[in-house]
Symmetry: C2
């Protein structure tokens, strides 16, 4: 299925949707707009970001904040605190272990269960 079709079904910001299962990994799409995602980390899991459309402000501890643009690919390593935000809508692909909670151990208003992400 085309990624745009998957994205067209995403009606909420900060609400990743699983588009594929590859062994122990979920591939997801999400739309980001605003600053609702809290600083968090994934203690034992890396997380990959790939920008499909728009721009994403990427903040990571001990690093200068940087803007990710369409086609940019970046992996946050396990245990590293990070936060993503965007002024305008940004559409992203995520590659995460099935066990990864998208806001880490931090529960916030945008936190979605894996059941919600699989809908």
């Amino acid at each position: 299925m085309n990624i745009q079709e998957h994205l067209s079904k995403v009606t909420e910001y900060f609400s990743p949707k699983v588009i594929g299962e590859v062994n122990d990994v979920y591939v997801k799409v999400a739309k980001i707009k605003g600053e609702d995602i809290p600083w968090h980390n994934h203690a034992h899991e890396d997380e990959a970001f790939f920008i499909l459309n728009g721009e994403l402000l990427f903040e990571e501890e001990n690093k200068k904040p940087f803007i990710m643009k369409q086609g940019d690919f970046y992996v946050v390593k396990q245990g590293v605190n990070h936060r993503v935000s965007s002024e305008e809508e940004c559409q992203i692909m995520l590659i995460e272990n099935k066990s990864t909670a998208h806001t880490g151990e931090v529960k916030s208003t945008v936190t979605k269960s894996i059941e919600e992400q699989l809908k």
Copy 2:
């Protein structure tokens, strides 16, 4: 890094290059042109394909061949025989377990070791 920059470093067809490591998974880019990839499967591993540019003819056992276009995402499940080819250059992203051999158990002229894919 931008995916186009990664692709610009790929000078050979059928020669996947690792662009990121996400836990037990490698994310790779590759360029396909021609029919050199043999029919193969990965006995215990799923493999995800995402089309970055161009068109890919996807053949899978017990399934009608189909064309994947830019933005199309597809996962071949473990154990399923498949083959990909393209008349014109097609640029793809692959998501595979680190243990996955890109042509399965089938050795062919295009088979690359993981060391070559990490260069």
